[in-house]
């Protein structure tokens, strides 16, 4: 099937159309259709995984003209490479879980909720597979709408504030990116580029001063999404107020849009600026790691704690990605998946107890392990994975990131960031201890029921992945490595010697000695 990517991306829309014809009272049918749609989407995505050739090229490419008017030509240009492959699979994998998690949590306006979830899936998949900058922007914005409604309609007490904040924050960043994108396009047209295809822009030489501005605009949009310190303030609000499925998707997939954006767009498009801003971004990443960990420690709300842990984890991802060597970037990419699995699982767990007790305050719990042994086991595994215990997925990612950063110019950042690993253990384990161990003295907690079959079924795939990725991460790494190498080659500054006199290339003088590997011509 040559258009399998399109089928996968727009299958959820088909589900939406089906949902529209189901009366809103028949909640079972609504849930069922949504569930089947997400499972079908996952099923469609599997041949993509198996058919993926391990090389650096974009595969399953579809490229047809879309808009052509005025100075612009936009194409429906999609494809997948090692960088987007796993994120796409993560998305299609998480979505059925998210739908299943709403089974009893959402009783009101089920129809609208399911429509939002499915629209969101299309938006996210589309953003990951777009190879046309304009198309990417469309999907990037489209994602906001269903998430806005999910937070705003089904969220907690402060949901409206959180939803509007989420929307406006992301919107400001992405609109500036839009201007940068248009500017980049007109730079490209002067060099003979005739459409928005990303691949053309990779070969475009942009002078360093312009790169600085363009990079800033792209980086701002992505930094808000990641979110990086100090732009992270929307995240705790959004996470705390969002319904469980919303938090899961937000943490597991949407935050990855930001880091993915750096790897796919900002870094390879603007190598000089990337080099220039690496210290700044690494500093912010490290501040994010430490700061978020410290804030997480004092949280009384479990969900807020997990939200802050997200900020810290994504700080690690950013550090790895900006190490600009293979270990670092692979580690960052892997950590994106790990974070998706473990933090997604954590939010599900928070959802389970919230659904039972309608509170998320740590002080309201204690001693739950006696009452809910299965829950306790699962929670423990996920907590350890989030902390990065060897044998779980979290370890592999963090380890690679720290090695990568240590071997790059970010050595001292890595040293400081390592303390973040310890902090993570402190706040996660302390929270676990306060919630699960101790006296079971609250009478409301004494009647809690353990996880039911549906809830266990939700968690099992995640637990399996935690161990598989922890023990045998090779297949994951293998498939992404060629693409990662390609990105690194592009993102590193080409030395003067290899640059032809086609366009002015400016090189930061200190770059060459620091990266002997960069002496190679930046081919593929």
């Amino acid at each position: 099937m040559s258009n399998i990517l399109s089928v996968m991306t727009f299958l959820p829309i088909l589900g939406v159309l089906l949902l529209l014809f189901i009366p809103k009272e028949s909640k079972g049918a609504l849930r069922g259709v949504a569930m089947l749609t997400t499972i079908a989407t996952f099923a469609v995505s599997l041949p993509i995984l198996t058919g993926f050739q391990t090389n650096a090229d974009f595969q399953f490419v579809e490229n047809v003209p879309w808009i052509a008017a005025g100075p612009f030509a936009m194409r429906y240009n999609i494809g997948i490479d090692g960088i987007s492959l796993w994120l796409v699979i993560l998305t299609t994998f998480i979505m059925p879980i998210a739908v299943l998690s709403t089974w009893t949590a959402v009783e009101e306006k089920v129809k609208a909720y399911m429509i939002c979830l499915l629209l969101l899936e299309t938006g996210m998949l589309g953003a990951f597979i777009s190879l046309d900058l304009f198309l990417f922007y469309i999907f990037w914005e489209v994602m906001l709408i269903p998430m806005y409604f999910m937070i705003g309609i089904w969220g907690g007490k402060n949901r409206i504030y959180a939803a509007v904040k989420f929307f406006i924050y992301t919107m400001v960043g992405s609109l500036l990116m839009l201007v940068a994108l248009i500017y980049l396009y007109f730079l490209g047209t002067k060099a003979g580029i005739t459409d928005f295809s990303l691949l053309h822009f990779f070969d475009l030489k942009v002078d360093p001063a312009t790169q600085t501005w363009l990079f800033l605009a792209f980086a701002l949009a992505f930094a808000i999404k990641v979110p990086m310190f100090p732009l992270h303030t929307w995240l705790p609000d959004a996470h705390t107020e969002a319904p469980t499925a919303g938090s899961v998707i937000l943490a597991a997939i949407m935050l990855k849009m930001g880091t993915y954006g750096y790897v796919r767009f900002a870094m390879p498009l603007f190598p000089e600026a990337t080099h220039q801003f690496t210290p700044l971004i690494a500093t912010l990443a490290v501040i994010g790691i430490i700061y978020a960990a410290l804030v997480a420690m004092v949280q009384e709300d479990v969900k807020k704690l997990v939200a802050y842990s997200s900020v810290a984890h994504l700080g690690f991802v950013m550090l790895g990605v900006f190490s600009l060597n293979e270990q670092g970037v692979v580690g960052g990419m892997l950590q994106m998946l790990n974070h998706g699995v473990s933090t997604g699982a954590l939010f599900l767990i928070v959802g389970f107890i919230y659904e039972r007790r309608h509170t998320r305050l740590i002080t309201d719990f204690g001693g739950l392990s006696k009452q809910m042994p299965v829950f306790a086991t699962i929670f423990m595994i996920v907590t350890l994975s989030s902390v990065g215990l060897p044998g779980t997925n979290g370890f592999v990612g963090e380890f690679l990131i720290l090695i990568g950063a240590f071997e790059s110019s970010l050595r001292w950042y890595a040293v400081i960031a390592s303390s973040g690993v310890i902090f993570a253990a402190v706040y996660m384990l302390w929270m676990f201890q306060r919630v699960m161990f101790g006296e079971l003295d609250n009478p409301k907690n004494q009647v809690l029921k353990d996880l039911n079959l549906r809830e266990i079924a939700i968690m099992v795939p995640l637990i399996v992945l935690i161990f598989v990725m922890g023990v045998y991460p090779n297949p994951f790494i293998e498939k992404m490595t060629p693409s990662v190498q390609k990105v690194i080659a592009k993102a590193r500054i080409e030395p003067v010697a290899t640059a032809k006199a086609v366009a002015p290339v400016t090189v930061q003088p200190e770059a060459a000695p620091a990266h002997p590997a960069a002496e190679k011509p930046a081919g593929h």
Binding site: G70, G152, A163, I168, V172, L175, L176, L178, V179, Y185
Partner: protein, 486 residues
Amino acid sequence: MDINVAQLFQTINLATIMPEIILSVMAMALLLVNVFVPSKSKGYLAWLSLAGLVAAGYTAATGWGLNIPSFSGSVVLDNFAIFFKLIFVVAAGLTVLISDQYMEREGCNQGELYPLILFTTVGMMLMASGTDMMTIFLGLELMSISLYVLAGFNRANIKSNESGLKYFLLGAFSTGFLLYGMALVYGATGTTRIAKIAEAAAKMGAPDTMLLIGALLILTGFAFKIAAVPFHMWTPDVYEGAPTPITALMSTGPKAAGFAAFLRMFLVAFPVMKADWSDLIWIMAVLTMTVGNIIALRQDNIKRMLAYSSIAHAGYALVGFAAANTTGTAGILFYMLTYAFMNIGAFAVVVVLGKQGESNGNVQDFAGLAHKRPALAAIMTLFLFSLAGIPPTAGFIGKFYLFSAAVQEGYVWLAIIGVLNSAASVYYYLRVMVFMYMKPAEEEFGWVKVTAPITLALVVAGVATLALGIVPSYLLQLAETAVKLI
């Protein structure tokens, strides 16, 4: 002017003004029908007007690509004019569809409404077709005078009276500026033909002071019509007081007509002075976007909110004007068309939810709409997202082209101010959605009636808003062809 009568008749080609003729005849016929066919319900007049508008639009469309001048060069039927005529047909057509229910409810369903709407459309069409300052002025007056009456159409409502009077006084004032400017330009160049003004201006070399002042005054006059800051003061009161369907029309059709004449005057007659006026437009665009958006943030009344947002939208269009390249002018054409769809669509929902005496016009009154009428809330959401410029809607594509034009000409800051304004505007559009979706109804909605014509208007506007956001190519290309000739 050295034209004798025989020559004049030779150059007359009635085909160029056929759309105007059709609409005028239709309007007069409707006046008679209204008198001689006794009927309490005036709904059939709406359908007849719609038929007239469609016929006029079709006639105009058949002239695509022909570019026929007529009346010794004072009127032309070129692609530019045709594109605008189609915008006016859309705006007026949607307006007549949403009028009946409103007028019935407010107890002012006089049959004269429809002929007046048609006459104002004729005025707009003449403005778009006019290649002589006199034609443009006549069109503008025909449009305006009909609108003054329409704004005060709800005689029993004091606010509507205020609206009509205010619009009349300020409109007359601004027309004075325009006319004075035209007189000065005529004095400086000795002609009222736009093409000849351009020739004369080009011959002068250094721009003549009188010509400059004339151009400046003309700019002021048009700025009034498109409600650009600082000439926007009349807008909120007039828009709030006028009957809602008329507000919908005023915020789209006449604004587009203003831009049509504005563009033709400045791009054809005064291109040599571009250095002088483009900075002014730049400043005006920034002010218009910013002031409109900031004040809109504070509005509770939805008509007032849409009025201020309409000021902001004129500002976005001015961004394309400041760039003054093909992308920008084509962007204005496209944007005016999409704005007609999305804004009248939004007003249609306001009409449906309104209660007698305009008592239901606050954002708070939208609370809980999504539970009561999910489809209505959904389509309103679509219009609001489009107004906010969020993909995949027509509003996004329109803004994209306008801001791109600015970037293309090197006005990056203008584009940045534009997008920041868009981001600010998101807040007040989201606010309506917050009430519709996230707050429970304060009081019972009662029975919300959506008549067949309004349903048709909502569907047409909704489909267009979405379709032009996903497959805009064809219309963008048309818009581009349309601006190439001027």
